[in-house]
Amino acid sequence: MASILKVDSMQGVTSAGDITITSEGGAATMSLQQGVAKAWVNYTTAASFVNNDSFNVSSLTDVGAGSCKIVFTNVMSNDAFSTTGLQVMGAGQLGLNAQETNLTWCISYNTSNAAADSGETTGTVHGDLA
């Protein structure tokens, strides 16, 4: 029988920050909080940086050509989180310049390996919120 749960907030019973869900294959369980992305963003680097859409991102700081500080609304608990992303510029690359609890700093490189504005960049953050 299908069921619907209507709530605004969920917490674990044993530990408020730990809700367990069952794996797709049914052989394992995993932490819901650890698997959920803590931030994501789709932004454009150009003369002015544009936040096209995002989650838990309060602002973008233009630090130079292709260089963008993505500032979080809710900060991370430490700087050992994971930022993964891609940028739209032929064979160009997206690199990480720094990560701090309140931001992740990404730089887009063009095919000549120079920092450069790209049409669009996407990024996702996994880790522990404060």
């Binding site: 069921s3 932490s31 650890q34 698997g35 989180f81 994971s82 993964t84 690199g95 990480l96």
Partner: protein
């Protein structure tokens, strides 16, 4: 006391923002890590049992809970060796128990980055 709730759909209290629990499970990362590029030590991670330094610019990690098959998504981004350096990350190997990433500089030569950041989405076993 631990408890178990079995539902198909989650909604907020107003009945909006409906999401199937299968979407929550499928959309959640099954593993992530930030690991030191030189020492192959995990600075922090989820569902990562061990990390192996496979050589210069070459690191792998094994999962605590294995994936259901090798058709999952492994995304890696590397960086901050130096503010001006260009790091290119390459997914080298994907198996149900292991992910492996390589890193090169802008000339295509393998080298250790400052960090490897990875995220894994797909089906757990």
């Amino acid at each position: 006391m631990a408890s178990e709730l079995r539902v198909n759909t989650l909604k907020d209290a107003a009945g909006a923002n409906s999401v199937a629990l299968s979407t929550v499970a499928n959309g959640s990362a099954k593993a992530w890590s930030q690991q030191d590029g030189a020492t192959a030590v995990a600075n922090d991670s989820f569902n990562v049992a061990s990390i192996t330094d496979e050589g210069t610019g070459d690191a792998s990690f094994t999962y605590t809970s294995a994936m259901n098959n090798d058709n999952y998504s492994l995304v890696a981004t590397t960086g901050y060796k130096a503010a001006t350096s260009v790091e290119n990350s390459i997914v080298r190997e994907i198996t149900t128990s292991k992910g492996r990433v390589r890193n090169t500089n802008d000339s295509g030569t393998y080298r250790d980055p400052g960090v490897y950041c990875t995220s894994v989405l797909g089906d757990l076993a």
